[in-house]
Amino acid sequence: MIEVRDLKKQLGANLILDGVNFRIEKGESVVIIGRSGGGKSVLLKHLIGLLQPDSGAVLIAGTDISRLNERQLLPVRRRFGMLFQGAALFDSMTVAENVGFALVREKKWTAAEVAKKVAAALEVVELPGTEGKRPSELSGGMRKRVGLARAIVYEPEIVLYDEPTTGLDPVVSDSIDRLILRVRDHLKVTSVVVTHDMRSARRVGQRILMLHNKRIYATGTPDEIFSSTDPVVHRFVNGISDPQETQFLK
């Protein structure tokens, strides 16, 4: 479904990604972990064509999207939904207008049908009856839920999550994790979650990719990653800042 081949990306003077390779199968739920500023979000944005690589390829269902222009990317992006780190809700619109945005733009549905689909999507994210609210009236967790409703309302094949639990308290983070699982199971979507929240990574991922030193450093099931004896992986998943603490593993 998604294949990344030898992806390299430099932003300004900084080399962010240097030869990233991985493959995600249809229906899979993959979590990409790595340190803050390590290029996880940059990598995620390449998957939907928001950024273009300096070299390498990003294949979506066999089509290399890395050299498509903005207009050619539009049909490819209809296969995707994306939840942004800050939700990125349109602040000039209500919740209903945000969630129904893609449907209205497609002009395939009547206003009543759009309203019905919006209500259903808000039901999935456990925010029924909030259609008339403005994004400024919502809490951080609610904004993320609305962002998720907007991403899934048109039933995409792939949903990308950029730091879905960052900045949320543990209880709200847990509810977002449950939503990600629910969306995966109900809509049978391929999920790619970028996070440095290890609890979340363990819960929502069927497979974990660890980005380190600008490349995919480790890959495995959550159990494999969390029980890894590799010092780099061990330090990261256990949140150890002092390298001396992992010396015993060698």
Binding site: G49, R71, L73, L74, R77, F84, G86, R150
Partner: protein
């Protein structure tokens, strides 16, 4: 030290290239009717209706001061009744479109850059793109279309009020002969002058929209980036209006007088 000017020129050329590509993309989108009409109507209201006060005050006081200054000079050579002719020609072909353009660049160009800049730093533009919406179709084209329609209308208003205010100052305050003044004004102010002014307004409207949208969509990170984009949008749009005005005057005068 030696790379500095080269870098500056390279950045400038790159910016010019991106502006050209944005303009071409906007024109292509406009021609294929990929416009968000609801947003277009809102922009037309925001630009046209909400700019009334500032444009009308600018037009009126420009006409008044122009009439007074022209009279003070012409009176010395006994050409009092040519005062309104100067006011008419100046307002129609130069001061009307240029001052209206500058005022709208300050009000609307800044607002566009700030709004789109904020959308960029909060990832709302990226969100648009993920929702299979081209930012040029949704954000740029409604603003461009609204400005190239609204600015000539605002200019026409400013010109009418400026000439009217100039007439008031000349006839009522400075006591110039109304009949000869009126006749001279009609004699020397031609359709061509008004045509030049309105064509300039359409072009200035395009400049304000493209520069405002470009600066907003390409602004730097954070509040500082948005602030800088807003300032640059106003400064660049104003400079572009003033420089292009000179060349447009030469070009349009030739073209319209030949036609």
């Amino acid at each position: 030290m030696t790379t500095h000017p080269k870098r500056w020129i390279a950045d400038w050329m790159e910016g010019l290239g991106e502006l050209t590509l944005l303009t071409l993309e906007a024109v292509r989108s406009l021609l294929t009717f990929k416009v968000s009409w609801r947003d277009f109507i809102y922009q037309l209201y925001f630009i046209g209706v909400k700019s009334q006060t500032v444009v009308l005050i600018t037009g009126a006081f420009t006409g008044m001061v122009l009439a007074a200054q022209t009279y003070f000079q012409f009176h010395k050579v006994k050409m009092d009744t040519a005062t309104l002719a100067v006011v008419g020609v100046s307002m129609c072909s130069e001061l009307g479109p240029v001052l209206t353009g500058l005022m709208v660049a300050g009000r609307v160009g800044a607002a566009m850059a700030a709004e789109l800049g904020t959308m960029r730093v909060t990832e709302q533009i990226d969100a648009l793109r993920t929702l299979a919406t081209h930012p040029v179709d949704y954000l740029v084209v409604p603003r461009l279309l609204a400005l190239i329609i609204a600015l000539p209308l605002l200019t026409a208003e400013a010109v009418a009020l400026g000439v009217g205010a100039g007439y008031f100052v000349g006839i009522w305050l400075l006591e110039i002969d109304p009949v000869y003044s009126w006749m001279n004004m009609l004699r020397y102010t031609g359709d061509v002058d008004l045509g030049i002014g309105l064509i300039k307004a359409v072009i200035f409207g395009g400049f304000i929209a493209i520069i405002g949208c470009y600066k907003g969509m390409n602004c730097g990170e954070g509040a500082e980036g948005v602030g800088r984009a807003t300032t640059e949008a106003v400064v660049y749009a104003s400079i572009t209006i003033l420089i292009s005005d000179f060349f447009l005057t030469l070009l349009l005068s030739r073209l319209l007088h030949i036609l």
